[in-house]
């Protein structure tokens, strides 16, 4: 059993290395300065406090969406809707940040709460459709991304747009709502503590609460959960709702901590990134921040590489895609795994 565990880790590492190797090969082929490119990619994030800060900042939203996706995965549900939940949470927090007058300590809490509720609502729809009627949560959560993207864009454009600004951006959020950036020159903000709280919450919920237990058993074996007396209908619904809350708060944190005014014109993609974070962390909440940091490291490194050399940062998206493909490929290195299992079985006889 231990060997199988080791095998899974090794396989993931091999997959990650292969994906990065591919990135390096491509870089080598297209760049006039591949050496510099490699170097700034790998070591860039550690060359200045500011850059290191960028890494941490980038890990925060990834942590939230990673947690959201892993929560759904643990219940054997898909949540492709984390994208829309994140986006709509950010929209809702923006509105609270612009319109509600509140003292400095209360304002961000209020905005985060409303962001969470907005995300919960977006998550509730596919959850309840699946639980009650068996409608595929995959298709509905995917479609809802675009529904709430449009709804969010409408709200910002027609009600909270800053008409004096040259670009399509919202009015600035009141400073009372900001999550303070407390480590200049970086932009690391109080949102990092919210993220840590979210990790702790998700962990306690999944592994230390009766609701999390019911959720995990439903994910492991639905007929068994039913047989045991677990109300799987409600489990499926609340797994999507809580997933939505986490993603929604994530969007709110990003808005209050980094942007301070709404300026997205397209879905920012954190929901899809959350899927790879969850996969890399094997849906373990305690592994999520590490996976998020790793992804953020690749991202930041790629950005620095793009700024300092002739290789563009999008290479990292390709690497990510290859990682998803390989890490989740069940038959990848399966022959090797089979040999390990057989050997172990023979030894134990």
């Amino acid at each position: 059993m231990k060997k199988e565990h080791v095998f899974e880790v090794v396989r993931s590492l091999v997959a990650i290395l292969l994906a990065m190797l591919l990135g390096f090969i491509v870089t080598y082929l297209v760049s006039k300065q591949p050496g510099e490119a490699f170097q700034s990619f790998l070591t860039g994030p550690f060359t200045s406090p500011r850059r290191f800060g960028n890494l941490i900042e980038a890990a925060i939203p990834l942590t939230f969406t990673g947690l959201a996706v892993s929560m759904a995965f643990q219940a054997a549900q898909f949540n492709i809707g984390a994208e829309g939940q994140f986006f709509f949470g950010a929209t809702a927090a923006t509105i609270v940040g612009i319109t509600v007058p509140a003292p400095g300590w209360l304002h961000p809490i209020l905005a985060l709460a409303v962001g969470g509720v907005a995300g919960a609502f977006v998550g509730w729809i596919p959850g309840v459709l699946k639980a009650r009627w068996g409608a595929s949560e995959l298709v509905s959560s995917l479609m809802l991304n675009y529904v709430f993207f449009r709804v969010g864009m409408y709200l910002i454009n027609y009600h909270y747009r800053d008409t004096t600004a040259g670009a399509m951006v919202s009015l600035p959020l009141k400073e009372t709502s900001w999550l303070t950036q407390f480590l200049p020159p970086t932009r690391i903000h109080y949102g990092i503590f919210v993220a840590i709280l979210a990790v702790i919450f998700t962990y306690l919920f999944l592994y230390r609460s009766r609701w999390g237990y019911a959720l995990r058993m439903t994910g492991l074996n639905l007929p068994f959960a039913n047989y045991s007396g677990i109300n799987t209908t409600s489990v499926i619904t609340y797994s999507q709702v809580i997933s939505g809350v986490v993603a929604g708060i994530g969007g709110a944190v990003e808005m209050l901590g980094i942007y301070h005014r709404f300026q997205w014109l397209a879905l920012p993609g954190y929901g899809f990134d959350g899927i790879i974070v969850a996969i890399l962390a094997r849906n373990n909440p305690l592994g999520i921040p590490l996976a998020a940091l790793f992804l953020a490291y690749l991202r930041t490194g790629a950005d620095i590489m793009a700024r300092t050399t002739d290789v563009s940062a999008e290479m990292i998206t390709v690497i990510q895609a290859v990682m998803i493909l390989l890490v989740t490929a069940q038959a990848f290195l399966a022959g090797w795994k089979h040999r390990i299992v057989v050997k172990e079985a023979k030894q134990s006889v």
């Binding site: 306690l204 609460s209 009766r210 019911a214 058993m217 039913n226 047989y227 109300n231």
Partner: protein, 514 residues
């Protein structure tokens, strides 16, 4: 006598170590209907899977039409004129009958699929073999009996001369069975050879020329159907290999902990699989229900335990009406359930032993003293039950799927028994379980019973039901066909006759087994 097919010394050992066939010799003459009978797990289906190339044997040879034949896959079997109608039909519901019949051998006109020819080919085939079907009807709209005809037509379309039917009547109504038999006789008269797997001796007598009996993976004997009585065949099927001895304490049963009144269940196919079953289980007794699998036991158990809703009737468990209630309500009434398929219902394989042990009480006050689950309490409970129920593992935190079948079953038993149920419903509690674990589970079952729980034991294993039960009932064709108030006074042969539908008692409706 001519021989069409000869299987000699067939050995099959599954990867999990189960010996399914042990030196089996089996031969079939051209143009006969040959019945292959035996209890569940006797190795009939395995033998036929080997013939059809779905399983590869460890030893033995197959000679077909006088030549040795290596059947590496179903395609080889099909190419040699061997066809099989599986218990679970291999049809595409949204396609028409004609399309299903010609799938893979589609007639063409230019680039197009030649629908007209497909229909006429199907019609022709149906007429030739007296298997009337409407080629343009969609499979999803036709009854089960018709679907089976489509399966047979499919095999014939591929030139099957030797046709294997795996328990073809299990899903059929009596009228459909009659029709099927007529069609099989017609096929025989046209020179086809048929192997017919069955449990039902009346049918075997009616349709077959010869019978091969298997038991526990071995060949027991071959006989001409005409010269053998149903009793003879039954005796060959249910011989006892190992005598299990259980010291069953005497009992003075108390009040009823389960009352089943006129429970009926109609399956999606429209077939009534439970036909008005009534009985009682009293505190402190074991009521055994014997029967060949597939006679409505599964549906009955699922209705009693909340996994399925009955079409009619009432279920009173521990004084509470739980008719149509969900599993949670049934459990709260005080019912423990050892399910038939432990990997589907009994455990979450990837979960740890601990996690599986608390599945029915994860939200109890005892495990949630404050807001969160108390890992300490969970772990203590796990350690206690692992010890008490002798679950062989390094740690209660091991995933259940790493355990052996017997130990997995002990996890289920530990959970269900430790909840102090007033009624235990045990469905095939020791299937696929090693001898040691079987004895242990039997001991625990009787202990619980002695402490006042009522036990409903459903088992296809005659040894098991006979040695554990105080009272015995037999289920056949969705009904209770016999009740024996004292299980010790019944012989195996007697029981076999009821199980195989040869005999049935006259029982007053509504008062059966009470």
């Amino acid at each position: 006598m001519d021989v069409l097919l000869e299987m000699k010394g067939i050995e099959k050992i599954y990867p999990n170590g189960v010996v399914a066939n042990q030196g089996v010799d089996f031969s079939v003459a051209p143009g006969e209907i040959h019945a292959l009978v035996g209890e569940n797990g006797a190795g009939k289906t395995t033998l036929m899977k080997i013939l059809f190339g779905l399983e590869q044997p460890e030893g033995g040879t197959i000679t077909y039409k006088g030549k040795p034949l290596h059947i590496a896959s179903p395609h080889v079997a099909i190419a040699n004129g061997i066809g099989m109608v599986h218990q679970h039909f291999m049809l595409v519901p949204s396609l028409s009958i004609a399309e299903n019949v010609v799938l893979g051998l589609e007639p063409k006109r230019g680039l197009s699929f030649d629908w007209k020819t497909a229909v006429s080919q199907t019609e022709e085939l149906a007429a030739r073999y007296n298997l009337p079907v409407n080629p343009t009807a969609r499979v999803q709209d036709i009854p089960v009996g018709m679907r089976q005809k489509v399966e047979i037509l499919k095999a014939l379309m591929r030139g099957a001369e030797l046709l294997v039917l795996d328990e073809p009547t299990a899903v059929l109504t009596p009228q459909e069975t009659t029709e099927l038999f007529a069609a099989l006789k017609k096929l025989k008269s046209q020179g086809h050879t048929i192997i017919f797997i069955s449990h039902k001796l009346r049918e075997v007598k009616e349709i077959s020329d010869r019978v091969t009996v298997m038991r526990a993976g071995r060949l027991i004997g071959v006989t001409d159907t005409a010269t053998a009585t149903e009793r003879d065949i039954s005796r060959m099927m249910v011989g006892r290999d190992v005598v299990l001895h259980v010291d069953k304490p005497p009992t003075t049963p108390g009040d009823a902990v389960l009352r089943v009144e006129g429970v009926r269940y109609v399956a999606d196919t429209g077939k009534e699989v439970v036909k008005g079953v009534s009985f009682e289980v009293r505190a402190g007794e074991v009521l055994g229900i014997a029967g060949v699998e597939g006679n409505g036991q599964r549906e009955l158990v699922e209705i009693l335990t909340g996994l399925r809703k009955p079409s009619a009737g009432r279920v009173i468990a521990a004084g509470k009406n739980v008719t149509g209630k969900d599993c949670r309500a049934v459990r709260q009434a005080g019912v423990g359930h050892i399910p038939e398929d432990r990997m589907t219902h009994g455990v979450a394989g990837l979960g740890t032993i601990e996690e599986n042990l608390i599945a029915d009480r994860y939200d109890s006050k005892a495990l949630n003293p404050r807001f969160l689950l108390s890992l300490k309490s969970v772990s203590e409970l796990g350690k206690k039950l692992v010890k008490e129920f002798d679950i062989r593992t390094q740690s209660p935190k091991t995933p259940v799927k790493m355990l052996s079948g017997g130990n997995i079953q002990k996890v289920v038993v530990a959970r269900e028994f430790s909840a102090n149920p007033k009624l235990i419903v045990a469905n095939q509690p020791t299937r696929g379980v090693d001898v040691g674990a079987t004895e242990f589970i039997h001991k625990k079952l009787l202990e619980n019973c002695a402490e006042g729980a009522g036990v409903l034991l459903i088992s296809a294993d005659l040894n098991e039901v006979m040695s554990l039960s105080h009272r015995l009932a037999v289920m056949y064709g969705g009904e209770i066909v016999a009740v024996f108030p004292n299980a010790d006074e019944v012989t195996e042969e007697e029981l076999g006759l009821y199980m195989l539908g040869v005999k049935r008692m006259k029982l007053a409706a509504g008062s059966e087994a009470s």
